[in-house]
Chain length 123, copies 2
Amino acid sequence: MSDHSSEPVGPVEAYEPPYYVAVFTAVRTESRRGYSETNARMEDLVKDIPGYLGMDHAQTPGGLGITVGYFRDAEALTEWRSNAEHRGAQRRGRDEWYRSYTLHVAKVERSHGFVRERGPAAG
Amino acid sequence: MSDHSSEPVGPVEAYEPPYYVAVFTAVRTESRRGYSETNARMEDLVKDIPGYLGMDHAQTPGGLGITVGYFRDAEALTEWRSNAEHRGAQRRGRDEWYRSYTLHVAKVERSHGFVRERGPAAG
């Protein structure tokens, strides 16, 4: 859920369905106290969940942030959702960091990926 | 799929499941020729699809872009996927605009939203 702007980027690749996506779309408040630290901690913590597959994040400056978490099955999501430290972070998000958000939890039925070959447009 | 950075922001709200999300995650090439115009045209075009519910987009500058389209049912997605003009735009995306992308099509099983009440953190 961090900005990732200094990290090498590339979308999480398509897995073989079925798997789960948790799509979290949010607009932030002005409050940034503790946000980055908590984000970093959550990114570490989620990696310990069996069945966690990866995460994509994009953030329009001053605008919408979208985080997509990928999980092998519903059990992995349930474990992440019921993690006590994660629940504490969610509470703090509602109290301080988010103006509004939506969460969509969905089972992937179809996926595919594309990686371009070297060509003039690759720049 | 445009940057939306000058538009008022707020995530698409939670709908009553089931509905579908199409999660498109992409890294762009340097090529921008025709991209904005095609994006704007696609955003207009998708609104004519019966069952289209909305779209969220976030773009990390120089990094990952995530577009999430929401659709009431699989039929709406099929109609959008088979739209001739949309298919042409997808071809052009592979030829010119995208270095890599992934598409995940998923059926939403659970969703919820949050909008903060006025408070000190709202700034």
